[in-house]
């Protein structure tokens, strides 16, 4: 068989390594064969390419050192940053907070990790576990995930010396420019050079090619040039509306902390693409970020009307029901997830909790056993914490204490465990010890109000008793 045809075939079969090998051989024979060169580039790119629409994550530096957001202290309900101020204690839907300090969501996704700490200091203090690993900048966030690719294939030096490329030349060759851009963007993760290439290429096609507009926007966005990105996306959107473009443009607005603008954009998008699940998911996420949970659930419910197997929607509605005192309904959603084949510690943990609060005690322990057997590292701490919660519920403080200590042994930064442990210790009369637990809890998670309250309560009691 012709080796080039074979390589093409292998690429289609997504057997990239073999495809690359063949291409390398071919290139050794004839290093000027552009077709093989492009094929190898595509294979290398496809090896590491991920759908980056949702992979965006805002780094700490971007949040605190860039001042692209217009309103510094926007009205609550109009900004993702001030969303937490919205939560009042009387709120029915008051949810516990995740490690990063945001109200708990049904699913973990990029962005749901985003800390809501108001100061840089507070964010840096947020425990850095696998759950809350936050990149320092968005550039390094990508490098973290994708940049490893450039090491993988560097057996005999890099495939393409990007710094020595003549961008204008390659930009002019339409067959080469796009694969080359993707290679630089995804494989080499060299945004700056990718941008150079894109600028040259878009000039050559007289600023008419929508593909280059999107790529330019992507580069600008990653470089933090939000206004330039907005311009590119808007111009592309005018040319031809697409779901991807709406999502990317909305990301820019979210980066600018204008959730309502993003929401208006999506409303507009729904006119072009009625009942589009991806767009409605984004809308639901925006409301969740704004802490407007009823609206968020409304959209998730609409999503389920369209796509009954949307895991994110099911999980989020489940959580909503659980925290609005309807554990039995929440249970049904989690059962649905189980039916769909999801099989992990978090799900069994949630099932266990729902069973407990729905008073189906026979299932509780079985669920938690499964959860423990499936749990890995930090998950286990959460599971033990929840088991401790059940133990407190049934009045067995000894087991509860054991479980909490186990949780802390796995994850020494589990702030809520510290708090609960403090309560148990206090009930045993060890006031000093309890106080130190409350202190470490509040030091680890300044957004929790419980340890402060408990500490105050204990202090008051001690004073009161000593005065009597």
């Amino acid at each position: 068989m012709d080796p080039f045809y074979e390589a093409c075939y292998l690429l289609r079969k997504r057997e990239f390594t073999r495809c690359i090998d063949i291409c390398t051989n071919l290139l050794q024979k004839n290093s000027l064969d552009q077709a093989v060169w492009v094929l190898k580039m595509r294979a290398l790119t496809m090896q590491v390419m991920v759908d980056d629409i949702e992979a965006e994550e805002e780094g700490i530096a971007d949040i605190f050192l860039d001042t692209d957001t217009i309103a510094i202290s926007a009205r609550p309900g109009t900004s993702l940053k001030t969303a937490n101020m919205n939560t009042t204690l009387g709120n029915v839907n008051h949810r516990p907070r995740s490690v990063s300090g945001r109200p708990l969501s049904g699913v973990v996704r990029p962005g749901s990790q985003a800390s809501s700490g108001e100061t840089l200091q507070q964010v840096l203090k947020t425990p850095r576990t696998a759950q809350s690993a936050r990149p320092v900048t968005s550039k390094s966030a990508r490098s973290l995930r994708l940049g490893t690719a450039s090491i993988v294939s560097q057996l005999d030096g890099p495939f393409i010396q990007i710094s020595r490329l003549n961008m204008t030349n390659y930009a002019a060759q339409k067959a080469v420019s796009k694969p080359l851009f993707e290679y630089i963007f995804y494989h080499e993760n060299d945004i700056r050079n990718a941008l150079d290439l894109a600028i040259e290429a878009t000039k050559i096609c007289e600023f008419k090619d929508i593909w280059w507009k999107i790529q330019l926007g992507k580069c600008y966005f990653l470089l933090g040039l939000n206004r330039d990105a907005e311009k590119q996306f808007k111009s592309a959107l005018k040319q031809q509306p697409s779901i991807q473009l709406y999502l990317r443009l909305a990301r820019v607005y979210i980066r600018l902390d204008q959730p309502i603008t993003a929401f208006d954009l999506f409303t507009d998008a729904l006119k072009h693409f009625p009942n589009e699940v991806t767009i409605m998911t984004e809308m639901a996420r925006i409301f969740e970020g704004l802490n407007n949970l009823p609206m968020s659930v409304k959209y998730y419910k609409e999503i389920l009307q369209e796509d009954a197997t949307n895991m994110e929607a099911i999980a989020c509605i489940g959580v909503h029901h659980f925290y609005s005192d309807q554990p039995d309904i929440g249970l049904r959603f989690y059962q649905r997830l189980l039916q769909m084949g999801l099989y992990n510690a978090e799900l069994f943990n949630n099932l266990g909790l729902c069973c407990f609060f729905a008073q189906q005690y026979d299932m509780v322990m079985i669920c938690f056993e499964r959860a423990l057997s499936l749990a890995i590292n930090e998950n286990a701490a959460d599971v033990w914490y929840n088991i401790a919660h059940i133990a407190i519920g049934i009045g067995d403080f000894d087991i509860a204490e054991q479980c909490l200590r186990l949780a802390l042994s796995i994850d020494s930064t589990h702030a809520t465990s510290f708090n609960n442990l403090g309560c148990i210790i206090y009930s045993r009369g060890h006031i000093q010890q309890a106080c130190s637990y409350f202190d470490s809890s509040s030091a680890l998670a300044p957004y929790l109000f419980e340890p402060y309250y408990n500490r105050a309560f204990v202090s008051h009691e001690v004073c009161y008793n000593s005065f009597n």
């Binding site: 217009i70 600018l256 959730p259």
Partner: protein, 557 residues
């Protein structure tokens, strides 16, 4: 003096002129001002504990304005202009309506209705251009001006129930646009920094040299000049008579309110620093607006009609006028009685003779100028003369005061008008018998300088094949052309007009301002030809001629 209805201070510096007030939630007024570090400060008195909030702009703010832009919403939109961008921002929703790159910069903003547009239009003035946007950011209106636009106002000047756009710019012009047609132009003496529109065809203006004035339709009602500069201009009905007063904030911290008809000061107050902005908004939830004044250091005071002290109102025009009259009469009597004692008066038939001529540079005045010669008709001397004319001198007034030994009965003054506009010169000459005399007779007179005073009329030079020229056809008698000439130019004793036997009319005009060649005008059988390379001058000559001859329409080629 005055009593503010409220007074407080915010600890931020405010940039002068960049202050506005908006009802961002539809009901509560919020003072909005640009502060240092490319930030915008919003002060919302109704929000307890969180009264002050900031907006990041990231670029230096050149203009801000708040107004209703969205037709279906009563919430104000904040418009922020920077040297290259324009942002329409919905403060209440923390979302932007649109963000635009404006290469001409944004130097003035207003929002209002223009004829032919159903929705409110955001009008933005930049470098030589005016653009209008709707709330979606669509570019609907566009026109050009002569220079950087400094101020915009929407006024119904010609009472046709539709707003005209009044534009003040760096080239000293106030232009009035009807849609995108220029319908009138007024020339001022400095950059027109501020414009405020009033009801009933009036608008106020302020120049960067400290002049404040008021126009009604196309006529100036009054104007005053101060040595301080105007920092901001506003309008508010302070005395409750239903007519807005003109409120002026000065760079030295003074604030005064003037009657819009007469320019008479009815109210004043003093801040410790320059005034940054004057707005009117309801800051006490009283159901009506107060006048809010903010200084550059963040001092805020509010006034309304109760701030005016009562007795000041009672002393109305009449009393004050009579008092002034009495004062001047008393001083006059005093003067006469003193003069009788000291020196004999000047001869009764003394007259002041003035003569105005355009002239080339001479030994005394080494530049081309308009020579104003004053002389008396007898042996009396001219001790000094003050000349008051707009825009010719720095500070508007010029005093000629020769040393004692040079005092004579004649005085020559060189004027160099910088622009081609007709001017009134007010002359005051101090005449007496003797140099050491302490009492002088003051002669006051007003002379008009024609529009083209800086041009010398010379005989026509026949250029047979001109490089560039303008021709048009008029149906007028030659005499009318001569009249126009004597109206617009300084005519020497003998007019060098050449009228040939078959009624050809020829004249040459030499510009004195720059060293360019003579402009030749000839009129042969009703066809006027202006031969010049300076197209601007040709245009001005045609304009003036058309004005004088009352020609509405003229085909020019």
């Amino acid at each position: 003096m005055s009593v503010p209805v409220f007074s407080f201070r915010i600890k931020y510096d405010i940039l002068p002129g960049l202050v506005t007030v908006g009802k961002y939630d539809g009901s509560h007024s919020c003072l909005t001002a640009a502060t240092t570090g490319a930030k915008i400060l919003i002060h919302s008195p109704h929000r307890h504990n969180r009264e002050i909030s900031f907006l990041n702009v990231n670029e230096s703010v050149t203009a801000i304005y708040a107004g209703r832009l969205k037709p279906d919403e009563d919430k104000d939109i904040l418009i922020i202009g920077s040297p290259s961008t324009l942002l329409a921002y919905h403060v209440d929703n923390n979302s932007e309506l649109f963000f635009k790159e404006v290469p001409d910069g944004v130097t003035a903003i207003t929002i209002g209705n223009l004829e032919g547009y159903s929705n409110p239009l955001l009008i933005v003035g930049g470098n030589c251009s005016i653009q209008g946007f709707d709330w979606k950011g669509q570019d609907l209106y566009w026109t050009v001006t002569g220079d950087v636009v400094r101020s915009l106002a929407l006024v119904d000047i010609n009472q046709d129930n539709a707003n005209e756009l009044v534009v003040g710019s760096d080239d000293f012009e106030i232009c009035i646009f009807k849609n995108d047609n220029l319908i009138h132009e007024m020339t001022e003496t400095e950059t027109v920094g501020f414009l405020v529109g009033y009801k009933e065809t009036k608008f106020a203006y302020a120049l960067s040299n400290g002049t404040v004035g008021m126009y009604e339709k196309l006529h100036r009602l009054w104007r005053v000049k101060s040595k301080n500069t105007v920092n901001c201009l506003g309008s508010y009905d302070l005395d409750g008579d239903g007519v807005d007063e003109l409120i002026t904030g000065w760079s030295n911290g003074k604030i005064d309110a003037r009657n819009s008809k007469t320019g008479e000061i009815i109210f004043k107050d003093l801040f410790s620093n320059g005034i940054a902005g004057i707005v009117s908004g309801d800051y006490r939830r009283a159901g009506r607006n107060q006048l809010i004044v903010i200084s550059c250091t963040g001092e805020i005071k509010g006034y309304d009609s109760t701030s005016l002290t009562q007795d000041l109102k009672v002393h109305s025009d009449l009393l004050r006028e009579l008092f002034l009259k009495k004062q001047s009469l008393i001083s006059e009597i005093k003067n006469y009685s003193m003069m009788d004692l000291l020196t004999p008066g000047i001869p009764a038939n003394t007259k002041l003779v003035t003569d105005i001529n355009a002239s080339m540079n001479s030994n005394r005045f080494p530049y081309n100028h308009v020579l104003l010669s004053l002389s008396t008709n007898n042996a009396t001397i001219l001790r000094l003369a003050t000349i008051f004319a707009e825009g010719i001198f720095e500070g508007e007034t010029f005093v000629v005061h020769p040393p004692n030994k040079d005092v004579s009965s004649a005085l020559d003054i060189a004027l160099v008008p910088p622009k081609d506009v007709s001017l009134d010169i007010h002359i005051r000459a101090f005449v007496s018998n003797d140099v050491d005399c302490e009492q002088y007779h003051v002669f006051e007179l007003t002379r008009q300088l024609p529009r083209f005073s800086m041009y010398l009329l010379v005989p026509y030079l026949g250029i047979e094949d001109p490089i560039s020229y303008v021709t048009f056809h008029i149906v007028e008698r030659i005499q009318r052309l001569n009249m126009w000439l004597s109206h617009s130019f300084l005519i020497p004793t003998e007019i060098p007009v050449k009228i040939t036997e078959n009624n050809d009319w020829r004249i040459g005009i030499k510009p004195l301002r720059e060293d360019s060649s003579v402009v030749n005008i000839k009129c042969v059988l009703g066809t006027v030809t202006i031969i010049t390379e300076n197209m601007e001058l040709a245009a001005e000559i045609i304009q003036s001629l058309a004005n004088y001859l009352n020609i509405d329409k003229l085909d020019v080629s």
